[in-house]
């Protein structure tokens, strides 16, 4: 190991952390977690519990489900199933991102933290920024990004918890609306290949259709169907060229 390795790891961590300041996701996360902090307050959870949930769950939709379902008195099994279903998307995201940051000799435990930080925010920004980062620094860069987003979300959760009583309903609605808007715009920006654009378009149509038809595990099946169809088109097009 060269003697400047620790410094460059630290520099990469700091670069990832600094990247969060110019990332549109910091602002989106801030707004989203103000909404989540307020939700925790309204359903009678403590501040420490709500903040811990932000850091442990680290996925907006799952946390909204957890707080509102528990608060409404749903059984533990029901809550676990609903949270688990909302989080299926994390599996393919982690599988797509880890090969970009690991090297053949990387130990699996070093990937647990970047995997934990993986959520839409980090995934979209990592896919965009990682190609410019040297491979040996990518894990540190991801952890820096994750730390920055984590601090942003924690600050916002605390702010929202204390603001809860003062938020007008339309403001709360606008904060909840940040998630679908930001998910859509950032996915659009990252969809440079035809296969990704097709997957996005088909998923937008099939997702609500599968939900409307009340197909069990609707998000998983609509995602697999739309993603596979987009991939098939991509293969056929490549074969024709």
């Amino acid at each position: 190991m060269s003697c400047d390795a620790p410094t460059s790891t630290l520099a990469a961590y700091r670069a990832g952390f600094m990247a969060t300041w110019t990332s549109v996701f910091s602002y989106v996360l801030f707004g989203t977690y103000i909404g989540i902090g307020a939700l925790g307050h309204d359903f009678g959870f403590s501040l420490v519990w709500t903040v811990t949930a932000t850091l442990l769950v680290w996925a907006g939709p799952a946390q909204v489900i957890l707080i509102s379902a528990l608060g409404a008195g749903a059984s533990f099994i029901e809550v676990a199933v609903a949270v688990g279903l909302s989080a299926v998307r994390l599996l393919p995201m982690v599988v797509a991102m880890l090969p970009m940051i690991k090297r053949p000799e990387t130990r699996a435990w070093k990937l647990v933290l970047p995997a934990h930080f993986t959520a839409v925010s980090l995934w979209v920004e990592a896919m965009r920024l990682l190609p410019k980062v040297p491979r040996e620094n990518r894990i540190a860069f991801c952890n820096g990004l994750g730390t920055g987003y984590g601090i942003t979300a924690t600050t916002a959760t605390i702010t929202g918890f204390y603001l809860a009583a003062k938020l007008p309903p339309l403001m709360s609605a606008a904060l909840l609306f940040l998630t679908p808007l930001a998910f859509l715009m950032s996915t659009l920006r990252n969809a440079n290949m035809l296969v990704d654009r097709l997957a996005l378009g088909l998923g937008l149509i099939l997702g609500p259709l599968f939900a409307y038809w009340q197909i069990g595990l609707d998000l998983m099946w609509s995602g697999i169907a739309a993603g596979t169809a987009a991939y098939a088109v991509h293969r056929v097009r490549e074969a024709l060229q």
Partner: protein, 115 residues
């Protein structure tokens, strides 16, 4: 409120039905990513599925809106997403422009069209 009958129960719930069912997908991802390198063809498919699931989440959050967002009429929510998308395309594919314009459309629409 049986699930909240005590501070202890709330913490148990956080770990057992909040953290674990969510985090298991990330751990499975770590296992599945073993042995795959960046250029692997299967990752094109995996990314397409991830994108499509994400698209499903976006559409469901817009159409079957959670909490107080449901009080804004559905056509207003759909129009706001569409207007945000158009702003994104017109203003240099800027995420921030799309989000801000979409939010403004939602608030204006809600003020004008809400009962």
């Amino acid at each position: 409120m049986s699930a909240l009958s005590g501070e202890f129960a709330a913490w148990m719930a956080l770990v057992l039905v909040g953290f674990l069912p969510n985090e298991m997908w990330r751990w499975l991802g770590v296992i599945f990513a073993r042995g795959l390198d960046e250029g692997a063809e299967i990752l094109v498919w995996v990314r397409a599925v991830a994108t499509a699931i994400l698209a499903g989440v976006i559409a469901k959050l817009t159409i079957f809106a959670p909490g107080v967002l449901a009080t804004v009429p559905t056509p207003v929510r759909l129009a706001a997403v569409l207007i945000g998308f158009m702003a994104f395309v017109l203003i240099r594919r800027s995420v921030l422009a799309g989000v801000i314009v979409g939010e403004m459309a939602l608030v204006v629409g809600a003020l004008v069209f809400s009962p």
